[in-house]
Symmetry: C2
Subunit: 365 residues, 2 copies
């Protein structure tokens, strides 16, 4: 068996050590005589996993005491609704930065709940980009400001975050734990786990507790953050195995060293962007340079140095796949190519892809 290079946008590559540990323990978890898949969520064995997952998140992200760390179900798509249902009072409004496919979905759910002010819009911009922070006009009295830190499909990423009077809410699904950030600058952060944190089926929420304490009791119990704060994410049966993998991933990040990991992420992306920029236009990055994502490197192939050529892109994907580089196809809504290089993606995979790209260019330019 040889592991291939997995450039999937999510669910995505996990550290091999995590998979090996999960495999070792799959039938008899820590000598309990049963799999963690079979353990009660009220058992001591599972509780240790649950508490370590939360403690590791707290430690790695420097989560202040007055914030709760929640492990929920439903993905970012459910958060798109939970955020306005909990944070947007009757008659109030919220500011949304509409920067691409994901933030746009968040907007669509928020307008079902209340008034939305779109304070920046780059959904259709080519090259892809994020609205410039200095141009944003925040609405006085808005209940919160919502942004997407990294647009997975567009390959565009905010490199810093705005200072806002209203609580800042961020969908960090595709770049959480990939770089330093200050939790206290945010009111609420959410992220599907399936990119940097673990498998699909787990959603991380970090929320300032006083922000959601007064959400209406009339909300569905499962959609009130307070339910899960009160229950320590054990109000109902949590996705225990997914949380276990998330715990192992956070343990792996601690062992690797988060600063080292963050620097490695910068270096990996820089290598790939340098390969694009040094190709005389054969490979062209689709995002504006200042907003290039360190997680999702999106690009086109322009054999004449000018115009994207879908046939050559198909050929590239076919040959790359055959050579053991999986998941390089761009999202179906935009086409082109995308290399997702999350935390667990190995440096050698980037080096090998760069070599493969040079070789492909030599044969196809």
């Amino acid at each position: 068996m040889s592991r291939i290079y997995n450039f999937n946008a999510g669910p995505a590559v996990l550290p091999l050590e995590v998979l090996e540990e999960a495999q070792r323990q799959l039938i008899d978890f820590n000598g309990t005589g049963m799999s963690l898949l079979e353990s009660s969520h009220r058992s001591k064995a599972y509780d240790a996993v649950h508490q370590e997952a939360i403690a590791n998140i707290r430690e790695l992200m420097g989560v202040p005491e007055d914030y709760a760390v929640l492990l929920l179900q439903g993905g970012a798509s459910t958060q798109f609704s939970m955020v306005p249902m909990n944070l947007l009072p009757a008659g109030g409004s919220a500011d949304y930065i509409d920067s691409g496919s994901w933030s746009h979905k968040a907007v669509k759910e928020a307008v079902k709940v209340g008034t939305v002010n779109i304070i920046g819009n780059t959904v259709k911009d080519i090259p892809t980009r994020m609205p410039d922070l200095e141009t944003l006009k925040f609405t006085p009295g808005a209940a919160y400001v919502h942004l997407t830190s990294n647009e997975t499909i567009a390959g565009a990423q905010y490199k810093s975050f705005p200072k806002t009077e209203a609580p800042l809410v961020a969908d960090m699904s595709s770049d959480i734990l990939s770089r330093p950030f200050d939790v206290s600058q945010f009111g609420l952060i959410y992220a599907g786990a399936q990119k940097n944190l673990g498998p699909s089926g787990v959603t991380l929420v970090i929320v300032k507790k006083d922000l959601v304490a007064n959400a209406p009791e009339s909300l569905p119990t499962m959609l009130r953050y307070q339910t899960h704060i009160d229950g320590d994410s054990l109000y109902n049966t949590p996705p225990t195995f997914g949380i276990y993998i998330l715990m192992l991933v956070t343990r792996w990040v601690k062992a690797f060293g988060k600063e080292k990991l963050f620097q490695q992420n910068i270096d990996k992306a820089a290598k790939l962007y340098a390969a694009l920029d040094g190709s005389n236009g054969f490979f062209r990055g689709t995002a504006e340079k200042q907003y290039r994502s360190d997680m999702n490197v999106t690009f086109r192939i322009c054999p004449d140095g000018q115009t994207p050529n879908e046939d050559v892109e198909k050929k590239f994907i076919a040959e790359a796949t055959a050579a053991g580089f999986a998941g390089l196809k761009g999202h179906r809504s935009v086409g082109g190519l995308r290399a997702s290089i999350y935390n667990a993606f190995p440096v050698k995979g980037v080096d090998d892809l760069v070599a493969f790209m040079k070789n492909f260019q030599d044969k196809n330019a």
Copy 2:
């Protein structure tokens, strides 16, 4: 390593063959060079898993063509809200059978959406039981009738289902796929997977499509059944690994033979209840005989043949745990003892528990 007997109420015991297969494939799934935990939910490898899971459910439960099979997140607790949000029109009402802790939680969510008629109530009955079907007075014009087929905590189970004019909605979390039932008698069936179908984090919904086609567009997208019908449970990233385990479990049921499994469930429960009834009152079943659950056998220990004794129950649990019988403690809300003996629980585990009980009685009567 020796596997112990796992009487947990959920997450619960899984077939050893399923765990062994998952372990074998954990790092390299079907020769893809990656774990299924890392596979894109849009990949061919995952899609085959997804489609087989749905096809197996359809086959094993005889799901008619005009019903959708959905694999969602959020557990039965989320269904408590989704059902009324999708099925209860403005100004309408729904009939609820309030038979225990779980149905009561369903009621609490439904009253947030509309008018609820409680047409039967046995929440506080001792011995535990279900409302008799022949006494139920259904409300003319009710949007639907909701029941819980098996109350996991009370250990009480409906042995047959009412014929209703309004669509019948059932929470079958703790007895789905444990016995034959006619899907066409129901409008909607839901079940958390973590008892008979797989791990926690996956929720099965079987729904007659025309029943939910007109749910309001104003609902949160993730809470509309139609979203997931349209997207074949791939509207957003599903809990891929949990669905994989569910697929393996349904494959195991097919190989074992569902009729054989259903008969085995009856036989396992009959053995345990016979042990209770043959103990001269030392062990006393807590449910009325006609409503005794085949999945969750609840009982007390009455050393004098009359009165439950918590100290002796604690002793029983401690000695049973030491002897390799795990999870026999009753739910914290009711105390006593509970042996959950779902599909994957082995016959020998029941035989060994019966022997252990006899031995315990000899020493403590």
